[in-house]
């Protein structure tokens, strides 16, 4: 059991003086030591975090909304004066000159950033196995993967090394590891949180997300990080995420896709418990209806065409010239590029760069890239229709439970297909929260995702509150 699994209790203890920020931090430092074998932390910001905790303990006057909350960040988020490598050898030695806007906002509310955690290289993966720092292990069951790409974030929270962790979610990279670790994973609408300082994987999909024990903490963190940022022209003005949106007694109209709950790849226990959950929602008096959705099988293809294309371009800047790793002893520029990138990127990243390069090349652009962009619009339009009628959509988070380390490495396509339920929210830019269902003592949790229309986060959290009643 974690020392604290919610911020309110911790804050009360802080206020009563039964714990200090420094003591809390020392406790987490101890836990980081204890869980070292799980390969979660790449770097602990010991000095800076302690200095901040000491300052907070001395602080007079008004306190921030995250006063003393200890938070870890994924290694693809920039932090001034610290290395940030996206778990890639190609960024070896790179030190950021600035801090990501989202993290600046957390710090401004008196949060303490404890360190950066492991993940899949450039956020590409779903097991935290594609990392130059090696595999992250599931803290509750180290023979298994913690999910990915923000597997280090989920593991850090589950291992009780921080109260919350900030990750990124391009196709489920926050929600899936949160689900694998039985935690809450939340991704806001596209444009809700600034991407400035987030090492880009796929620019039109990437969003900052959070992994927490409680939904309320996820809501609070998203609320603080969201808002228009001068440095990111894709950010939008939206209603406050933390604003209470409706009465708990409201009866909801809930949609689900029949095929999503009856697909071949779905683990039988996940199917059983998910269907039970639908019944349970019905029993609460809400309307739960299957809606037709002809694009389910097209989600993964659409996602992979567009994200690999964007990734092949976003990762072109890693060339060994201005920062990071440079291959030794190269005779000319061409050799410098090729040797650096060949040695600097891992196999999965190179695979996606090659696919992305292919779909963007002149002869195939229309057949793949344009086609996928058009399909993306059809999917988005269909979802707008659904959300016009229904308050939310329920989807399983992952079709399978955390697999054993080393399994599933061979066929990338079967790994990609496991993203089927999480990529939808990124394709349409809507918010999505994954929450664990029944907890099992000696087994992995089944989780459910709740999605709403874009920029309806306060509504989404209201719905979850209502469903959890």
């Amino acid at each position: 059991m974690p020392r604290y699994s919610d911020y309110t209790t911790y804050l009360q203890d802080l206020q009563q003086g039964s714990i200090t920020c420094v003591e809390m931090l020392e406790y987490y430092f101890g836990k980081i030591e204890e869980s070292k074998s799980n390969n979660i932390y790449i770097e602990v910001f010991k000095e800076e975090a302690l200095a901040k905790a000491q300052a907070l303990d001395q602080k007079e006057g008004p306190k921030g909304r995250l006063f003393g909350m200890v938070i870890s960040i994924k290694d693809n988020i920039c932090y001034a004066g610290k290395s940030s490598t996206a778990a890639s050898k190609i960024l070896e030695g790179f030190v950021s000159t600035y801090t990501a806007t989202a993290i600046e906002k957390l710090e401004a509310e008196d949060a303490i950033i404890i360190g950066r955690v492991n993940c899949d290289e450039f956020g590409m993966g779903s097991a935290s196995s594609h990392s130059t720092y090696g595999q992250v292990k599931h803290p509750a069951n180290p023979a298994h993967v913690p999910g990915g790409s923000s597997g280090g974030c989920a593991a850090a929270v589950l291992a009780d090394t921080c109260l919350a962790s900030i990750g990124t979610d391009t196709g489920g990279s926050v929600r899936q590891p949160a689900a694998f670790c039985g935690l809450v994973g939340a991704k806001p609408s596209y444009g809700s949180i600034s991407r400035y300082g987030i090492i880009a994987y796929a620019s039109s999909f990437d969003q900052v997300g959070v992994i927490t024990h409680q939904v309320t903490e996820a809501q609070l963190l998203l609320d603080i990080m969201s808002g228009v940022d001068d440095k990111d022209p894709t950010t939008v003005d939206q209603n406050q995420i933390a604003k209470p949106s409706f009465d708990k007694q409201t009866k909801l109209k809930v949609a689900y896709f029949h095929d999503a709950f009856h697909s071949d790849g779905l683990d039988p226990r996940i199917q059983k418990e998910s269907l039970q959950y639908l019944d349970q929602v019905r029993a609460q008096g809400h309307t739960v209806e299957a809606v037709p959705f002809e694009y389910l099988d097209l989600l993964v293809p659409t996602y992979y065409v567009l994200t690999t294309a964007e990734a092949s371009s976003n990762l072109a800047r890693f060339d060994g010239v201005r920062y990071g790793y440079r291959a030794p002893d190269t005779k000319n520029l061409e050799e410098l590029y090729r040797k650096t990138r060949t040695a600097g990127f891992g196999a999965e990243v190179k695979r996606r760069i090659m696919l992305g390069t292919y779909v963007l090349s002149a002869s195939y652009y229309d057949a793949y890239y344009t086609k996928a962009q058009k399909t993306r619009r059809l999917i988005a339009d269909r979802m707008i229709e659904i959300f016009d009628t229904y308050d939310c959509l329920l989807l399983p988070t992952a079709p399978v439970f955390p697999w054993k380390i080393g399994a599933k490495m061979d066929d990338p396509v079967s790994v990609y297909l496991a993203d089927i339920f999480t990529v939808l929210a990124n394709i349409i830019g809507s918010p999505a929260v994954s929450i664990p269902l029944l907890s099992h003592d000696n087994d992995f949790n089944v989780n459910i995702q709740i999605l709403t229309a874009k920029h309806k986060e306060s509504h989404l959290f209201g719905i979850i509150n209502s469903l959890q009643n």
């Binding site: 371009s313 072109a316 800047r317």
Partner: protein, 483 residues
């Protein structure tokens, strides 16, 4: 290369241009680095321009009105929603591995510029993009040095239709375009510093042919003279190939200003696949009707409009008009004068022959000249009144006026005794003195050697120290010389 002395057939040259115009903003197109020219290397850079991980572009609001102003001047269609694309290729001075440009959906579409020879050059489109940094190959023996100060400088790339038929037309176009961008204040147009650079696409076809042959692109031509030289060389080269019965290969060429020749550049360039796709980091550039209307009202008079006005209103020659409108500063100076003062034609001559050359030598702008327009007008009035000769005015009075800007020209002329005399008594005295001194010459004149009048005039001028009004003197002299 051996060039054939006589061509077997008649050919037509077909040329299209791609002109890069560096916009004169304070900061770069997608980040806050300064665009100052000539700074220490790598001092005008940021995490964004160096493409550090996690950074994002955001468009500089000033580039939009500058692009729209060019569109208004060229009669282009202004795109209400233009978009940015990424153009991917690896090069050391291209930090992101792609250039942000506008491929599918540029900010300006179509338009024309009319040349002095009356022919019209159609513009295909004009798009916004960012410049690359600089690779320096000659400073260190085994290394290439990289300076990213220029990386991200805002550019407009103007692409013409293949409407040029000669190097002269290209030269005229570049001259007019540079003049235009300076008038509308979107660029300093300085070709030596690379603020205006041009790629020239050249092909040759048989006269009368409708189709275009393979073209060669000459890259980075950085002066009008070089553009003309490159075209001359390239046209001869291509004709020689065609005369030999062969086909010109499509190619990218480099121009060597020292030899005046072109040579193939990066042969791999032709095979490059730039993988253009819309940049998801940058929302479209939105331009509203209201915004365009507001800019329309702020547009200055364009050089060709001014030229027409000046020619028509003041009867000034085409050549002089060209000089008066060459630069916006001169044109404004001239037009300011015309608004308040008379003797416009004389003023135009004064400006062209004296004031502009003077300022050029002193390397100062006209506006810093210590000569008020009121004083210049007063001076020209004196010339008109025959109070002073034009040569005395420009050679003697003008320098005095510069030294004594607060004293009136009339006073200065009087004080220095350079006012010319029309006083009949005074003139008669000088004339009679001369007639008395040269009786032989008077006789010769009276016997028909009329050319001697010049001699007498010269003597009178000497005696009067240049003050004698030539017109009056000449009339009086003729009368007195009559037998």
């Amino acid at each position: 290369m051996d060039l054939p002395k006589m061509k077997k057939k008649a050919y037509q040259t077909v040329i299209g241009l791609e002109v890069h115009i560096q916009l004169n903003t304070k900061s770069k197109i997608f980040c806050g680095d300064s665009t100052f020219f000539g700074a220490e290397p790598n001092t005008l850079v940021s995490a964004i321009s160096l493409a550090h991980p996690g950074t994002l572009p955001k468009i500089n609001e000033e580039v939009i009105p500058k692009a729209v102003k060019l569109g208004l001047a060229l009669n282009s269609k202004i795109n209400p929603s233009s978009t940015f694309d990424r153009k991917s290729y690896f090069y050391a001075d291209l930090p992101k591995g792609y250039q942000i440009t506008q491929d599918k959906n540029p900010i300006l579409i179509g338009g024309q510029l009319t040349l002095e020879d009356g022919s019209q050059i159609n513009i295909h489109h004009v798009h916004l993009e960012e410049d690359a940094g600089k690779s320096i190959h000659h400073l260190a023996p085994h290394k290439t040095l990289l300076d990213y100060n220029r990386a991200g400088t805002p550019l407009l790339e103007l692409v013409t239709e293949p409407d040029f038929r000669s190097g002269e037309q290209v030269e005229q176009f570049l001259y007019s375009l540079r003049q235009l961008i300076r008038y509308i204040d979107i660029s300093d147009g300085n070709m030596e510093q690379g603020s205006m650079r041009c790629d020239v696409n050249i092909s040759v076809r048989l006269l009368g042919d409708q189709h275009y042959n393979n073209r060669c692109e000459v890259k980075n031509v950085n002066s009008m003279k070089f553009a003309k030289q490159a075209i001359t060389f390239e046209v001869q080269r291509q004709i020689a190939i065609m005369e030999a019965g062969e086909t010109v290969a499509q190619n990218t060429l480099n121009f060597n200003p020292e030899t005046g020749e072109t040579s193939p550049l990066r042969s791999k360039e032709n095979a490059t696949d730039y993988r253009y796709f819309p940049d998801p980091d940058l929302p479209p550039v939105l331009v509203s009707h209201e915004f365009i209307d507001k800019l329309k009202k702020e547009m200055p008079k364009l050089p060709w409009v001014l030229a027409q006005n000046i020619k028509e209103m003041y009867g000034i020659s085409k050549e002089d008009t060209r000089l008066l409108i060459a630069e916006k500063e001169i044109a404004n100076y001239f037009l300011d004068y015309t608004k308040q003062y008379p003797h416009v034609k004389a003023f135009a001559n004064l400006l062209i022959n004296k004031l502009i050359p003077f300022c050029k030598v002193k390397k100062m702008p006209l506006s810093e000249l210590a000569l008020s327009k009121a004083n210049l007008s007063e001076m020209l009035q004196m010339v008109a009144d025959n109070t002073i000769s034009m040569s005395a005015a420009t050679q003697k009075l003008l320098p005095l006026m510069i030294l004594n800007p607060d004293t009136s020209p009339v006073e200065l002329a009087a004080k220095q005794g350079i006012t010319q005399s029309s006083n009949k008594d005074e003139l008669s005295t000088w004339i009679e003195e001369v007639i008395a001194e040269y009786p032989d010459k008077v006789k010769a004149y009276q016997n028909g050697k009329k050319g001697l009048i010049g001699f007498f005039m010269g003597e009178i001028m000497k005696r009067s120290k240049g003050k004698a009004n030539p017109k009056e003197t000449s009339a009086l002299l003729s009368k007195k010389l009559e037998p």
